[in-house]
Structures are given as C-alpha cells and as structure tokens.
C-alpha cells in the first residue's frame, strides 16, 4: 500500500493505479472525459488536472493530468487547489465554446457526463461570443444516431470502437479544431458493439436510435436490474419502462460477467416486449376468455387440468422458476425439455464436463485475461458476441506482459498501444469458415466439424500421451496440432472456447480432452462453452428427457408448452403430428407464433420485463432478473405464477383461495439440490433497508399525478410488488442498494452512467458487496472421469447428400431479438453457402438459386460461395424466422433450379 496526501489528508491507497482512479475511488469528485476504467488513460481531454507537490513544504506545486500520473508513495496532491480548480473550470469552458445549445432536444440530456462535469466545475455562462463550429451528420444505421456538433473531441468513441472492439469503419477525420468522428461515408456501423458508443460518448454525439423512437429521459424511467435474454452469456442489463412500454436497455456493470459493455443484440433486441403480436388475453378454443373473472377461467380449465394425463414441455428461454413450476405441475416423469434430442444431449455433455470438477470454467472476466486461446468449432461473434469482445482483449495479454518490464503502467493506454503496435497473442480458431475473429487470430483452420474434433483430439494427445489418438490424420494437420499444443503448453492461462453452434458432441469432448490434458500438466486451463439459449444450462441441469422423447411417447391427453415455439425445434410435419395427438394443448407464451396457433388454451405470459426469474448462464452462474413494470393488462403474468396456480387448483384449492407463492426457490433446491445457491442470488422479497423498499424510479421521476389522469383524475394506488424488495414508485431507500438490486446508477452530481464509479469498491473493480450472481458448478473434483475417447472418423464428402451445418447470426438467429425493427433490418437473409468445389460441381455462381431439400422441407436459396468451406459441406443460417424447423446438423440434397 502506498501513502498519499490529498489536500493534506493521508490516505492508504493501492499502488499501480493512476491518480485519477485513485481519487475517484477515494470519493473525490474529479471531472474527466477521455479516461475510461476499461480503456485506460490517454490524457487527451486535459480535464482531470490536479496539483502535485514535490514534498510537504512545496507550496507552489505543478499542474498534472491526474489520469497520466501514477501513484507514488508519499505523494502530495491537491484536488482542491485554486489553480487546479480554475484550470478545470476553464478547460470545460473551452470545450463548451462550440457545444451547441441542444440539451433540450438531445437524448443524452439528464444522463450526460458533459452536463455533470460542466456543473461540477462551476462553468455556467458562455463568455465566448464568436460563432460556433458546425458539422454535418452521418447516417450510421438503425442503432446509432449521430449529431456531430456536440462533440468535445475526447476520442473515446474511436478508442472503444477501433482499439477495444476491433471495428474498422469508425474513425477520426480532418485536422486541428475540425476533427470529425464518423465513417468515411454514410453507412451502417458494422461492429457488433456499436451500441456501447451511446454509453461511451460522454455527450450526445452517439445516442441510441431506438430510444429516440419513444424518447424518455433517464429520470422518467421505471428501471430494474435485469439479465439479457438473447444468448447464453447472461450479460447484466438495466431495462427501463415508461407508459407501459419498455423503452431502453443499457448495460449494468458486473465485473465478473459483462463489465461495462453489452452487444447490440442485447441492447437493441428488447422491442419484442412492445410488439403488437403479444398474447394479451387467455384464448380458449379460439375464443378470447373473459378473465376479469378468474373463476371463469379456472372453471374452463377444470376439465383439462383435473382429468387425463398431462405432459409438460419446458423451454431454454423460460426462467428456472417457470420450468420448475411446470415440472411440479405435471410431475417429474412427465416433464420434458423443449429441445430436440441432439441439442439436449449436447447440453448434457457440456454440463457434465463442466460439473465434473476436473476443469475450470472461467467467467467472462477471466477469458479476457487468457494469454493463449483456442477456439474449437465456435463463432463467438455471432453466437455469444460479448465473449468475442473479451477474446479481443485476451489477444493483447501476451504482448502486454512485456510492458511491466519497461515500466509502463497497465493503465497507460496510449503508451501500451504504442508499445505493442500490431503485435498479438496466440489465438487459434478451428471453424468451417472464416469468422470475424480470424483477423486477430494467429492461425486458423477451416475444416468440417468432425475434423475439428479430430484436430482437438490430436492436440490433447500431444499434450498428454494418455489421451486417445485419432487415426489417419495427415501430416499437415498434425503439424498444426503439435504447434498449437506446444504453445498451449507454454501458456500461463490457456483458454479453450467451444460450444454447441455446430451441434457436434465430439468437438465438446475434444475441447474437454485438451483442457483436461492441460490440467494434468498443472496448468490452470479455462474451458468455456457457448450454449444455445439464455437458460439452456438451467434447463439442462433439470435433467429431463428431450422433446424427441416426448414425441415418441404419445399417450398423454394434454400438453402444456411453456414459452417455446416447437416449430423452431423440429421439422414441421413432425411437430404437426406430435401436436395433433393431444386433445388439449395449453401454451403459455408472450408472443404469437406457430405453436400458439395450435393451442387450444393460450395463456399470456410475462416477458423478462414484466416478471422476475432466474437464469443460469453458460458458466453455471445463476442470475436473477427483476420485474421492470406491472403490465397494464392484468392477464399478463409470469408463467411460474400461472403454473403454480394450476398446481394449487389441481390439488383441490378453489380459484378464490389461490394464494401467492413465496417459496418456489426453496422448493426448487429441496427437490433439485443441484440448484443449491439459487436462493442466495438476490435478497429475498421481504428484504428492506431501514424498513424501506428500493425504488425503481429515480427521485426526479415526473408525471405521477398526470400520467393516468386521462383515464381517471384520481391517481390509482401504485401496484405492490410481492416478489421483490423493489417498489414501483419513487419512494423508498435512496442510498446504495446491494449489488443484485441496483435498478439504475445515480449519485449526487453524477447523473450519467459514469456514476458506476460510486458503486464500485475500487474504480473498475467489483461492486460493493460483491458482484451479483452465484456459480452453481462446483469446483473441485467430483468425478474421476478421464479422457473422452470416441473419436469420429474423418469427414468425407458423400455423393448425393450434402451435410449442412448451421451458422449463427448475431442478428436473425435469436428468436426474440428479431422482433425489434432495428435488429430485423440488420438480420441475415436466407442463403445456402457452398464451397468452391461443390459450387463448380453444381455449376452455380454467387447469387444463383439452389434448391435445398432437407427431409420433407424444401427451400430455394441464393448461393454464397465461400472458398474456405470444405468440400461436401454446405451451410445455412441458423433459425432465421423464415426458415425454421431444421434439426441440426442436417443432411440435404442440393439441386440447381432451372430458371
């Protein structure tokens, strides 16, 4: 620990940090713009000036930029020195000379770092009377709005977009006081993390375009901590509502998971909550049920629920609670995972591997710190985008190790980038085609899924002789495998990334073998799997049979389908046949889809914003999302609430006596002990601070007495939350809530997202009280399982049938996010991708139409030629809304259509 004196008071601080972050950690309000805890310092904005003195007798001192000054022992600093204060105030005044008079029409207003810092430094009146500089704006696509006049040239946007996220199409142009941040010409920002620009930009140059469609100030939103529903990583988000509509999703800091950033699918995929195709009324045999009267509904349900055999079909996108409530309703032996057999088996294998205790499952933060990364059969940019961003940081770790030797501190971003230039750590990618991460990879290997697995097995064998050897590998491949093995062996923190994208179990096993072999060499290897959906792990941990098993076993009268569009899970004919076997089909869902069309009883379910629940992410971390708002429509309720009422009703409780449940999680861990720990994910519903709830609304929330005045001038009683310690009002505890219960970031003088600083133990570190989420996978030896040894044979192209693999797309492959118009406009179009050899054989060129016949399903798709794709393999986009119902990996016949 170092001792520093700030304004003559001594403080014990951590060495190796810069002065700015130290001052912020100590609670001083020091203004800054260009520095960002995740991106380090460049000293561009000159805003964080403080005075540093030679020793205690030095009265003059010198002005320094605190972000560029390391902590030294016995350092004398003054934040409050009049010269430093004046400097900061004048600096803001200069920055503001060209800032437009826009706050009223600026989306950043009310959560603007520039506003906060201007007020903080005391600059109030513009003395500069000369004309303001202006710029023309650019069209940057459906996500981000550009208003360049507001720029204060802090360079954060390009530093994030280019340096941190690896974007290519945003840059700084022109010179001197005319610098321009934008694209070379109008066009869509290509990077998957462009949405973070809205949070990174300290002012309103880049703002959320989807928010603009239904603009609401931050202070007017009802917010709650939530979890992203659009991939298996479980990034933490804050969701905000106004007038009964979900308005915005922003990232919520969790140092173990997503840190400061989320991907564009998570940020802009929220609009399915407001979609017009929402299920809003219970529908019974095509008739909208009058459910002002609950008794009426239950009278109709009586015949269905009380007689006959019922099976339940769960869902990987429904919460743990909902799946469990269904399991309890129908009984253990009648509960099925709503996913096809191969996917269920694959998830099961992944969970088994991660739970065996022999390999380490890293958090996203740990993946960021890996020094050598091997990706086996996964495309994180499209299947788990935030992981790709973490891996882009990981490739910098190796070159950065040299920095300490030449005395460059870890926060000095400008110097570090200068030092490492284009140097990259080792990243190996084995995937059938090129991925976006290839540009930072040191070696890539484009082969068929089976050969990826064989490649993985070969690496494991080089690492440990006892691991099984694949036969008949060619020398070239073996050489690459040996090279990879050598580098993995030398690594300090090797990381293996794999997943379910290619639906190949052998790849998962190969990845496990490599991690295990490294572990046996006493390396702390990380093994990270990407799973298909947000609660795939949670559903998998329930260890229920798959949908395919349910289809084989058809003697039930009633099926209850929970938040699951079965037509995404199997061929249309099969699902049709399966569903036609039931007398009653009860579907609980929030959006109309093909499955809800088959329902005899359709029950409206709450989305993540209207209910609460727990999700288990790909690393086994259980995380709670909280209800953001009470839907205006009383019929929309959490699935678990409906299902629990059905269970009570089945157990003979009359509809008027149905009680609110309070012990579902307790029951869950009693019945399924593998979920022990879930009850501690967040404080219980009766948690209070000084007897008060935690308000979902900021204290400046407006319109309380007029929002609903058009309906009735007397204000209704605000809804009460029985499930969480939050209130739906602005009344309650105003201090800092525990980490899992932070509905929004705000601190006096810090209205913008930068107020996160105040919620962290130290700037950039974990939140006060520890980051939310509980890991359910046990570390430490559970099983003695050794190497997996079912090595597949090498892939050979078949004559006639082509193996078709699925390629996930960040925009389009996820079921819910495509309901957002912005995401839909970026969605991939249907295609069939073939390699050069196959294209020659089929005599098709780019854009020609190929007829693809998979089982009974036929598609006419335009061809994309991809040189890297191995012969005998074709690829199609994964689960686009227009081409559902394929069980992957598929086999199909490709024929050229005559036109």
């Amino acid at each position: 620990m170092a001792l520093i004196y700030v304004d003559k008071k001594p403080y014990e601080v951590k060495p190796g940090k810069n002065l700015l972050e130290t001052c912020l950690t100590l609670g001083f309000n020091l203004p800054y713009f260009c520095w960002h805890p995740a991106m380090g310092s460049v000293g561009a904005c000159r805003q964080c000036a403080v005075k540093v003195f030679k020793d205690e007798n030095d009265a003059n001192g010198r002005l320094v930029m605190s972000c560029m000054e390391g902590i030294r022992d016995n350092m004398y600093v003054s934040v409050d020195d009049p010269v430093a204060r004046d400097f900061r105030s004048q600096n803001v005044e200069w920055l503001m000379t060209n800032h437009p008079h826009d706050c009223a029409v600026c989306d950043e207003g009310g959560s603007c770092h520039l506003q906060d810092m201007t007020v903080m430094t005391g600059h109030a009146y513009r003395r500069f009377r000369f004309p303001k500089r202006t710029y023309r704006n650019q069209y940057l696509g459906p996500f981000i709005n550009h208003e360049m006049n507001r720029c204060i040239q802090c360079y954060r946007c390009v530093r994030f977009y280019k340096d941190y996220a690896g974007g290519k199409d945003l840059d700084v142009f022109a010179a001197h006081d005319h610098v321009y941040f934008g694209r070379e010409k109008d066009g869509i920002l290509e990077n998957e993390f462009s949405g973070n620009l809205a949070e990174i930009c300290p002012t309103g140059v880049f703002t959320d375009k989807t928010l603009k469609e239904h603009y609401t100030r931050k202070w007017d939103m009802t917010m709650a901590p939530s979890i992203c529903q659009h991939c298996s990583l479980g990034c933490n988000i804050i969701a905000g509502e106004r007038y009964g509509e979900l308005r915005q999703v922003t990232s919520r800091f969790n140092s173990e998971v997503n840190g400061y950033f989320i991907c564009d699918r998570g940020r802009f995929g929220y609009e399915f909550v407001n979609d017009i195709t929402r299920v809003r009324q219970p529908v019974i045999r095509g008739k909208i049920a009058d459910t002002g009267d609950k008794e009426n509904l239950f009278n109709i349900l009586a015949a269905v629920l009380l007689g006959g055999k019922i099976i339940g079909i769960g869902s990987p996108r429904a919460s743990l609670e909902a799946n469990f409530a269904l399991r309890q309703l129908v009984g253990k032996q009648h509960f099925y995972q709503g996913i096809p057999e191969n996917e269920a088996h694959l998830t099961h294998t992944v969970l088994e591997v991660l739970n065996c205790g022999r390999v380490h499952t890293p958090s996203l933060k740990e993946t960021e710190q890996a020094d050598v990364v091997l990706i086996l059969g996964e495309d994180p940019t499209n299947s788990a985008p935030r992981l790709a961003l973490a891996l882009r940081q990981a490739v910098r770790q190796k070159p950065l190790e040299n920095a300490a030797n030449i005395n460059i501190p870890a926060w000095h971003d400008a110097a570090l980038r200068e030092l490492i230039q284009e140097e990259k750590g080792e990243l190996f990618i084995a995937y059938p085609i090129e991925t976006k991460l290839d540009e930072v990879a040191s070696e890539t290997f484009h082969v068929a899924p089976d050969d990826i697995a064989r490649f993985g097995f070969a690496i494991a064998d080089y690492l440990n002789n006892t691991a099984p050897v694949p036969n008949g590998m060619n020398n070239q491949t073996l050489e690459i495998a040996k090279h990879v093995a050598d580098i993995l062996e030398k690594a300090e923190r090797p990381l293996i990334v794999s997943g379910t994208t290619l639906f190949n179990e052998d790849i998962v096993k190969a990845a496990y073998n490599i991690a295990l072999a490294l572990e046996m060499e006493h390396k702390k290897a990380g093994l990270c799997f990407v799973l298909p959906e947000c609660n795939s792990a949670g559903l998998g941990m329930m260890q229920a049979p798959s949908l395919t098993r349910a289809m084989e076993n058809e003697d039930a009268d009633t099926a209850i389908i929970l938040e699951n569009d079965l037509y995404r899970r199997g061929a249309k004919a099969d699902i049709d046949h399966f569903l036609s076997g039931f007398k009653n089909i009860i579907v609980l869902d929030h959006l109309h889809n093909e499955t809800t069309g088959k329902a005899t009883i359709l029950i409206p379910a709450a989305t993540f914003a209207e209910g609460e629940g727990t999700l288990v992410n790909n690393e086994g971390r259980a995380q709670r999302f909280f209800q953001v708002f009470m839907p205006k429509n009383q019929n929309i309720r959490e699935s678990w609430r409906w299902l629990d009422e059905f269970r009570q009703f089945r157990n003979g409780i009359m509809p008027e006596d149905l009680h609110e449940l309070d012990n579902l999680t307790e029951e869950l861990i009693a019945v399924l002990p593998q979920f022990r720990g879930v009850e501690t994910v967040a404080p219980p519903a009766d948690f209070r601070i000084n007897g008060q709830r935690i308000p979902r609304e900021p204290h400046r929330f407006s319109g309380r007495t007029s929002m609903l005045a058009n309906v009735a001038v007397s204000e209704p009683k605000p809804p009460e939350d029985t499930d969480s310690p939050f209130s739906f009002t602005m009344e309650g505890y105003r201090g800092m809530p525990p980490a899992p219960l932070i509905p929004f970031y705000w601190s006096p003088g810090w209205n913008s997202v930068q107020s996160i600083n105040k919620y962290q133990i130290e700037v950039g570190g974990p939140l006060h009280g520890g980051d939310p989420g509980v890991r359910l996978f046990r570390e430490g030896l559970v099983s003695k399982a050794g190497f997996q040894d079912n090595i597949p044979t090498a892939f050979k192209p078949h004559t006639g049938e082509t193996v078709i693999i699925s390629l996930p797309h960040i925009f389009g492959s996820d079921e819910l996010s495509v309901y957002s118009p912005s995401v839909a406009s970026r969605s991939a179009r249907p295609y069939i991708m073939v390699g050069n050899v196959d294209a020659e054989r089929l005599r098709v060129g780019e854009g020609d139409i190929l007829h693809v016949q998979i089982g009974d399903q036929g598609y006419d798709l335009p061809v994309i030629r991809k040189e890297a794709l191995p012969e005998g393999l074709a690829a199609m986009p994964y689960n686009l809304p227009s081409m559902l119902g394929t069980v992957w990996p598929a086999k199909g016949i490709l024929t050229k259509t005559m036109s």
Binding site: H101, D102, V105, A174, Y215, W219, T705, A709
Partner: protein
C-alpha cells in the same frame, strides 16, 4: 376607552375609502402580464409548436402534474405527441415556465378555470396549445440550437459557422 373610540373612528373613515371589492364576474379583475394563471403552450414565429418535448417542465413540477411524450416529425423536429396537465393538482408555481428552454410553456393571467367535474381539469395538448407566441415574441429555439430540424440547415443558425469540410486540410 380612547383606543376603542379610535378604532371606531378609523372604521368609520373607511366608509369613504375606494372600494377594493369588485363585482366579479360582471366586473373583471385587472391582472398583470406576469400573473401566474392558466398554463398554455405557445408557438414559434413560424407557427410551429414551440414545445420540443424535453421533459424539463415535467421534472421541475413539484406536484408532478405534467406528463408528455416527445416524438419527431420527418425533419427531426421534436414535438409532444401528447401533453397533459392535471390542473386539479397544479399549484401555479411557475416552475415549469422557468424550466422551459424554449419559452413554450407559459403561465398567463387567467384563472377562470372552475369546473364541476374534476376530470374536466385534465387538459390535453389541444386544450393547452394557443396560436400565439405569448410573452416572448420572435424567439425560435431551433434558430439557436445546433440541430437541423427543418427550421434551418446545419450552420445556418444564429452565430454559427458553415459546416466543416472534413476533407479540407486548410488551417
């Protein structure tokens, strides 16, 4: 005794003073321009809506009786989709007028808003918007803001330079 007579005398003298009581409603009260009465939404000199839906009035309102929703026209000009004031809650403090950056919301000298039904005190935008610039004639927010929203092009506002040519390297 003397004080008693004195007060009676003073009271008697008041009979000859000017009457303060007026015969309202036949006779109207004189209200000064800055009198804080009924709230209106005014218009620009070009008769466009002045309100840009910035929500500052709503945030400033101590009784939270203002609610609105901002939206945009095809030029990017903001206006309120709805604007509602619940006058049964309003305390006529004038904070909304002080907060308004565009002089859109103004309190005018009119207090004759009595209703038999409280619900009728909920005013929507149609009830609030007047065809006048109110107390601040000539002001158009978009002329001084940096945004190009159909009122002026980029760099054509008051005290603005023409837009930067990004491809020029001249000093």
């Amino acid at each position: 005794m003397i004080s008693l007579l004195r007060t009676m005398w003073l009271t008697f003298l008041h009979m000859f003073r000017k009457r303060e009581t007026i015969q309202y409603p036949e006779e109207k009260v004189v209200l000064h321009p800055r009198w804080r009465g009924r709230i209106v939404l005014t218009r620009d000199p070009d008769m466009g809506e002045r309100c840009v839906g910035c929500y500052l009035c709503a945030a400033a309102c101590p009784v939270d009786c203002i609610s609105l929703q901002a939206t945009e026209d095809e030029n990017g000009r903001r206006y309120p989709e709805f604007f509602r004031i619940n006058f049964s809650r309003c305390i006529f403090c004038g904070y909304c007028e002080e907060a308004c950056p565009t002089y859109a919301i103004q309190l005018i000298p009119d207090f004759e808003m009595g209703e038999y039904d409280r619900q009728n005190l909920v005013y929507e935008k149609e009830d609030l918007l007047i065809n006048s610039e109110g107390k601040y004639p000539g002001y158009n927010y978009y002329k001084v803001a940096g945004l190009a929203a159909g009122v002026k092009g980029k760099g054509e506002g008051e005290n603005e330079e023409p837009p930067v040519d990004v491809r020029s390297l001249l000093p």
